[in-house]
Symmetry: C2
Subunit: 364 residues, 2 copies
């Protein structure tokens, strides 16, 4: 059994070698922890700043055993960790955080929305779609249009399609491979907002200020943080985030994406049981960023402060936008984060910049 | 020939695997650089956050060749890099920054003070001491007491001794092993202050705010940043730092330690051609810290902003003080930096904390 809080010098295992693992490993190092990365990728972004790397498939039992042997706690940088991997780590007696329940719920969009509603948290209307007939029934219940999504997999706008009319049901269901789906009603939102939320092993909760998200082609483009808004909006967002963390018995950092509706209500779009792109602004806008906060939480440390000390405009560098580094380096207000990825494929997240300006007030 | 600015994806070689190398490697990673560490230590603090490590003696010619082959630029975390190593790297055609002249000057306390004076920068009075007779002559010239130091080596208060009377000359010179020495007059200072100074490849200069240093037993204990002081004091410090950087044709970050005299003058005590303990406060007090600034400079990037956004009290964690991490983690104003060293020997620098408070004004 692992005793918490973990002392410095302990090793934290991370499933995944991408930029989130990289920034987690750097935060862990600041606190005196070593990291061991499990990733199928040779020379991954995370492994280049970590003490140890195991290059293997995520379901490689030998690698998982080695990861469990080396690590006092294991966490992950992506939510689609296969259930079999989680089960194997549990069988090995490894401490895994965030809790596997949060993984299971967030991996299935139907389970996710059902869980949120059962916790008293509002979402758009939704229906289970296992067949063309289910989708037609959803049209009868909700009317058009509907957003059809696969229940599992898909990210950055992939695996989803808008269906305008009931008689397009068959074509839409075919287009998503006739996999188990969820149909969602549109949200009449004026903007998308997000909250980075953390919960410690003792139940302590720490919430970063609400932020405003701007997506393009289904990919987060820009975060403005802290967001403008009324005290009621901030209070509502904080209540939703705290309710969700407690309902999940969560440990770690969670990214929560919401719709700010025209009528003033907030609905949850989705959550990710991990550090999140909408929290990258905290690296330069807060004393303790989301990555250190996650390490603190999973290591059983007290959580750190979450107030903003700067207003931040976070912009993702997609594909060859990272090639503009020389121009960005000349901007005094711009902090640069590059992920060490070799190939700037179109749309690939190669880095981000945080552009700082003074806080106008406590909110941003 | 290396072309500057270095693009992200380039590799930066670092001589030395301690905490300064560790924090340099983390800063380099943020900007998308890989690092290769050359250190004789297995499992060094720096190597645990770096892409590559060569474990070898600093004068291992094979290791130096490999370092030169892998690195687009080579820097160092300590100033006592042997001249033979620098010569070998030059022979290999490697780009080394800061310039080797700064190394040579700073490695010899007599050369250092002579160089400073020749650049018009004030120091305490000093005399070359190669014999007991030289020390007696220094007493005749300056009067007692004198601080006798070995010209080379020694740090954190080692390799130096106060001599109260001329007739103690033989004993003092014996105590330092009859090595080449320098005798220095006392400085009537009210406090010790420091400046972290940076110069880019294009001659651009960036200076961090003046800080106040508190030593105990010859070891830096605490930095208060920015320091209180008059506009004249700040202007004098900035002029000295800029003069020194230009005189050295410097590239990189340099730590400059000064005496703030009772009569209002500033004298240089010494400088280190590297990132410096008196600059650790910048990690949490400035947008671009000294480590990123050094990487920017040696990579040929534009320098970043140096203004303080918080007042910081930096305190070194020496020996088993690092064992107080659990208490420190509960302090909301305290940012923790631990170096991943295994053995908390007495006096060993195991980490530091930056305690933040709001800036009272532009200065601190």
């Amino acid at each position: 059994m692992t005793a918490f809080p973990l002392p410095p010098g302990s090793t934290i295992g991370i499933l995944g070698g991408g930029q989130l693992g990289r920034m987690l490993a750097m935060a862990a190092a600041r606190l005196g922890f070593d990291c061991v990365i499990l990733t199928p990728e040779i020379d991954s972004p995370a492994s280049r700043v970590a003490a140890h790397t195991l290059v293997a498939a995520y379901d490689d039992r030998g690698a998982l055993a080695e990861l469990a042997r080396r690590s006092q706690v294991i966490t992950f940088e992506f939510e689609n960790v296969p259930a079999a991997v989680v089960a194997e780590l549990s069988r090995l007696g490894a401490e895994v955080a965030p809790p596997t329940r949060a993984l299971a719920v967030s991996q299935d969009r139907l389970e996710e929305k059902s869980f949120l509603n059962s916790a008293g948290i509002g979402t758009v209307g939704f229906a289970r779609v296992d067949s063309e007939a289910d989708l037609k029934a959803a049209f009868q219940r909700f009317g058009p249009p509907l957003l059809l999504k696969t229940r599992q997999g898909g990210y950055d706008g992939k695996g989803q399609i808008w269906v305008e009319k009931a008689d397009q049901s068959a074509a839409a269901f075919d287009a998503l491979g006739r996999r188990p789906c969820i149909a969602e009603t549109p949200a009449a939102f004026k903007r998308e907002v997000a909250v980075i939320a953390a919960r410690g092993r003792d139940g302590e909760i720490a919430l970063y200020p609400l932020t405003e998200s701007h997506h393009e082609n289904g990919i987060l483009r820009r975060t403005s943080a802290p967001a403008q808004g009324t005290p009621k909006l901030f209070a509502d967002a904080e209540k939703i985030a705290a309710t969700l963390l407690s309902a999940l018995g969560y440990v770690g950092v969670l990214g929560l994406e919401l719709f700010d509706l025209n009528d003033g209500r907030l609905l949850v779009n989705e959550f990710a049981p991990r550090v999140h792109n909408t929290g990258h602004w905290t690296l330069d806008g807060c004393e303790v960023d989301q990555f250190e906060q996650h390490i603190r939480a999973v290591a059983g440390w007290p959580l750190g402060p979450t107030a903003a000390h700067h207003h931040v405009e976070m912009t993702n560098l997609l594909g060859d936008e990272a090639l503009t580094w020389a121009k960005l380096a000349r901007e005094p207000e711009t902090r640069i984060w590059l992920y060490g990825k070799r190939a700037p494929q179109p749309g690939r997240k190669m880095g981000h910049v945080n552009r700082l300006s003074p806080l106008q007030d406590g909110r941003g």
